[in-house]
Amino acid sequence: MNKTKIEEEVTADNQELRSFNLSILTENKSGLLNAVTIIFTRRKINIESINVSETEVEGVSRYTIVIKTTREQVDKVVKRIRKLIDVFWAFVYESDEIFYQEIALYKVPTKVFLNGEKAEHLVRNNGARILVIEEDFIIIEKTGHQNETKDLLEKLKPYGVLEFVRSGRIAMSKSMRGTELFLQELHNHY
């Protein structure tokens, strides 16, 4: 059967590489992280970032995983994740379907701040804050998207950045439904 134009567009769209955010609700069980990540390993999908934390419901964890892959692949992967016995549900979002943040920490020598105000301006103008001041170094904290935290890194580099670290992405959907209610609905569905 010949493909229609629309079908071709859909196929192309499905095969374009982009970032997807997976949000996975699970039991808090040891070894489960391994069970989740081998699903990616097996398909040679690299995990861009990962974060695991307990939700507002005791005993229920949320994994937030960012991967770069195709729509077609992510749809298959997410079904595999849902199949894991200790997983309640897995959602897949594109970045415009969620609110998300990452947090970055920068360690710079304290003397930079003693030599004039420029560095302090940088911190203030970039929505960052000073987390700690030690005799030798200062730690700056910034919350933002990757391009923003990276931007500040570039700006701080001339002053000498000793260390930089960025967290995995954490995200929330645009739905009004909390975890508890969602789990209840899931339960009722089956």
Binding site: M1, G31, A35, I38, D75, K79, D86, V87, H187, Y190
Partner: protein, 575 residues
């Protein structure tokens, strides 16, 4: 004791016992009658506890842990029960892995209990410590390590529920030695619910309607029978369904025996060495109804040229199978039996005369070109097909047939005429050579009243032949047929067809198989001449104990038809 282990009684009185004894009592509470296993240091407390329960549970000491797995698989497949395996830590557990992977691919319910080093030694590279949880994770449906004896009943109950429900699969429970020794209060409660797990999805009414409408409008419907039919015991409803709308049905290798071969709507086997008509007509049907099958590449060949003209209705209990390989126009997620029951009243009676005739006409070509020459050969040497024909005739299609992997497997699947469901046991998805001998042994233990015939290549036999020892010790009257072509036949066929006959390491100098069997007091005979074949098959089947029949077959026979790897289903070759 009775009250503790009575299967029907769900809750039981508490009793103080060791973790090891709790393992045995939990298994008894699940109704387990047979365990296949092999002891070692880390599982010794469990074996010691077993010693006191020998009158209540049958333990079979295999000769290699892989054999325990395959035996449990054979048992599980014919009994429709969970197979149970014991192994020790380290090498005992790693020896299970091939079998676990096989059970995972072929959705076979198994609970494996492995001993583990004491919890204080975990992570220290202690003697015979391996990360069983880590190693088995990709090939199990679920696994869990127990370090606290009190967890034992609950986790075993969960393991059985998970292994058996929904799409079945293997589960590993790894129990540290200290947990086996520790004392606990035993109380057993069967598991019927896990809050994160929903094994049987609800069927969507709207999709049922859509499916029925497609089927009712269809002029050339075609149904694919997968193992899901057997797992959900949907074989009767399947028959009513296809008979009502006169839908031709073909099967995957694991769907074989769900529909008797003699059924007029059974149009044969799918895939690489399947029948001509169903492969070719996959690309002519207008509605393809796939039931409990996963569109394996050995079935579909080139996906870009697979049933592109057809509307696809995919019925499966596992949502992750939908759109994995073939895009479904109408997915129907649910238990195959429930779905077919719901669908049956919605489909109209149809005849589909001209469409069914297409299958018949194409089949005639295959009969003439391939089937007759395979079953009634004129060749000097014996061909595999005629051996299977004789076995099929002599057993009247009543036997449980267990095949290994290779040419003989394809030939057996093509030519044995099955009458009853759950009668075909083979390693389909993983294609594990060495599967058949132990699996046949397990099947015979599971179904002692039915004849069990293992059909094995000379290569595969030598992968697990040590299980002759188990067959000998427990006097398991399984019939073993070695189709000896002196080659790793299937690989040789590929070398001949696609690698210019460069037979790189596929020819084998074989031992005296009859003498080997003799070493285990198993009788047998070797047949090289066609004129002795019928009598030999008869003698084997009539023999009261295990028997080994070696048939020397044509060295360079090829299995046809064949869809070359990566080609389209309609590129099927007859020679």
């Amino acid at each position: 004791m009775e009250t503790l282990v009575n299967e029907k009684q769900i809750t039981t009185a508490k009793k103080t016992m060791s973790g090891a004894e709790a393992v045995i009592c939990s298994l008894l509470a699940e109704g387990v009658e047979t365990i296949f296993g092999y002891p070692g240091g880390a599982i010794m407390p469990i074996y010691d506890a077993l010693y006191d329960y020998m009158d209540q549970v049958n333990h079979i000491l295999v000769r290699h842990e892989q054999g325990a797995m395959h035996a449990a698989q054979g048992f599980a497949r014919v009994r429709k029960e969970v197979g149970v395996v014991f192994a020790t830590s380290g090498p005992g557990a790693t020896n299970l892995i091939t079998g676990i992977a096989d059970a995972h691919t072929d959705s076979t319910p198994i609970v494996c209990i492995t001993g583990q080093v004491p919890s204080s030694l975990l992570g220290t590279d202690a003697f015979q410590e391996t990360d069983v949880i880590g190693i088995s994770m990709p090939v199990t449906k679920w696994n869990h390590q127990i370090t606290d004896a009190r967890e034992i009943p609950e986790i075993i109950a969960k393991a059985f529920y998970i292994a058996k429900s929904g799409r079945p699969g293997p589960v590993v429970i790894d129990i540290t030695k200290d947990a086996q020794f520790a004392s606990m209060e035993f109380e057993y409660q069967k598991c019927s619910k896990i809050r994160t797990y929903h094994p049987v999805p609800k069927i969507k009414e709207e999709q049922l309607q859509q499916a029925a409408s497609l089927i009712n409008k269809s002029e050339r419907p075609f149904l694919l029978v997968g193992q899901g039919i057997l797992i959900s015991e949907a074989q009767d409803i399947l028959r009513s369904f296809i008979e009502k709308a006169n839908i031709p049905a073909a099967w995957t290798i694991l769907g074989l025996s769900a529909l008797e071969n003699s059924h007029p709507l059974n149009v044969g086997m799918l895939g690489m060495h399947g029948n001509y008509a169903p492969n070719l007509l996959t690309n002519e049907c207008d509605v393809l109804i796939a039931v409990g099958m996963r569109f394996d590449d050995r079935v579909t060949g080139d996906l870009t040229k697979y049933a592109r003209q057809a509307k696809v209705i995919h019925i499966d209990i596992d949502p992750s199978e939908i759109d994995k390989n073939v895009k479904a126009d109408v997915p129907l997620i649910g238990d195959a039996k429930q779905v077919l029951e719901a669908l049956l009243p919605l489909v109209s009676k149809k005849r589909h005369g001209p469409w069914l005739k297409r299958f018949k006409d194409l089949h005639k070509i295959e009969v003439e070109k391939v089937i007759t020459p395979a079953l009634y050969p004129q060749t000097p040497g014996i061909l595999m097909g005629e051996v299977i024909r004789h076995i099929s005739e002599a057993t009247k299609g009543e036997a449980i047939i267990v095949t290994d992997v290779g040419q003989h497997q394809m030939v057996t699947s093509r030519y044995y005429n099955f009458k009853h469901p759950h009668s075909n046991v083979t390693s389909g998805g993983l294609g594990t050579m060495g599967f058949a001998l132990p699996a046949a042994m397990g099947a015979k233990v599971g179904m002692p009243e039915r004849p069990v015939v293992a059909i094995i290549g000379d290569g595969g036999f030598q992968m697990t032949l040590q299980e002759l020892g188990t067959i000998f010790q427990y006097e398991i009257p399984v019939k073993i047929v070695i189709l000896n072509n002196g080659f790793l036949g299937m690989v040789r066929q590929w070398q001949q067809m696609f690698f210019e006959r460069r037979y790189s390491f596929t020819e084998m100098k074989n031992p005296d198989f009859i003498a080997i069997a003799g070493g285990f007091s198993i009788q047998g005979q070797k047949v090289s001449d066609r004129k002795h074949l019928v009598a030999a098959v008869k003698e084997m089947l009539g023999h009261p104990a295990a028997y080994l029949l070696e048939v020397v077959v044509e060295k360079e026979e090829n299995v046809f038809p064949m869809i070359p790897s990566g080609a389209a289903v309609d590129d099927i070759r007859m020679e």
